[in-house]
């Protein structure tokens, strides 16, 4: 079943998605907090894009975006909780998690007729 094609492997592509998601957390945090240098924000922004576009050429696009959105959103929430010393309203976190669940569900069903 595994036909050899001249592209990177799926596991490598998943690595790209995870790395892209982590970079997403860095640039988003950099938009908010000035302690992240501008050059780091810019590089992580461009690199995260590049990684996601590369990964989406190999893996199912909906799944890639769902994982990506999950890492970015949970990461941003974690960063904010750490930065604020834990003074984040639980109600707000609950809404963010509900929002994320809907985002993931919608992304995963983006292919017509399947799932």
């Amino acid at each position: 079943m595994n036909k050899k094609i001249k592209t990177m492997s799926e596991s490598r592509a998943w690595g790209y998605v995870i790395l892209g998601g982590l970079l997403e957390i860095i640039w988003a945090s950099g938009f908010k907090y000035e302690s992240v240098p501008s050059i780091v924000v810019l590089i992580s922004l461009l690199l995260s894009f590049e990684l996601i576009i590369s990964a989406a050429k190999i893996l199912p696009v909906g799944t890639v975006y769902a994982v990506f959105a999950g890492i970015g959103t949970l990461g941003a929430t974690a960063v904010e909780i750490i930065y604020s010393g834990g003074s984040v309203s639980m109600l707000r976190v609950a809404f963010i998690l509900l929002l994320l669940a809907c985002i993931i569900s919608l992304k995963l069903t983006s292919r017509g007729g399947r799932g």
Binding site: A28, S29, F31, K32, Y33, L45, I53, Y65, A69, G72, T73, A76, T77, V79, E80, I81, Y83, V88, S89, L91, R92, V93, F95, I96, L98, L99, L100, A101, C102, I103, S105, L106, K107, T109, S110, R111, G112, G113, R114, G115
Partner: protein
């Protein structure tokens, strides 16, 4: 004023994604310009909105608006599934965004 900027940032992200699709089909100057300008504007507005809106809220709403927008475009232009489940999740995203706006 931050919330309208944040919503606009999410919508511009959708236009940017349409730009990516168009560049993939035809890699010309106009499509590249559409893609770059849309994303650039999206990020600038997101950064501006984040000056007053908390990080996690801003990021989640930005992604949420982008997701709903992309789903609507997909349903209209690319024959993506229009199931009840997808309609409910879209409403869920919108309600969550409203909830986040209310709790501040």
């Amino acid at each position: 004023m931050a919330w309208p900027l944040l919503i606009a940032a999410g919508l511009l992200e959708v236009i940017g994604v349409i730009g990516i699709k168009r560049v993939a089909e035809r890699n010309n100057f106009t499509n590249n310009l559409l893609m770059v300008i849309s994303f650039l504007a999206s990020f600038l507005l997101l950064a501006e909105a984040m000056k007053t809106i908390p990080l996690a809220t801003a990021y989640a709403v930005w992604t949420g608006v982008g997701t709903v927008g992309a789903a609507i475009v997909g349903m209209i232009c690319f024959h993506e599934s229009k199931s009840w489940m997808r309609m409910i999740t879209m409403i869920g995203i919108i309600l969550s965004i409203v909830g986040l706006k209310v709790v501040g």
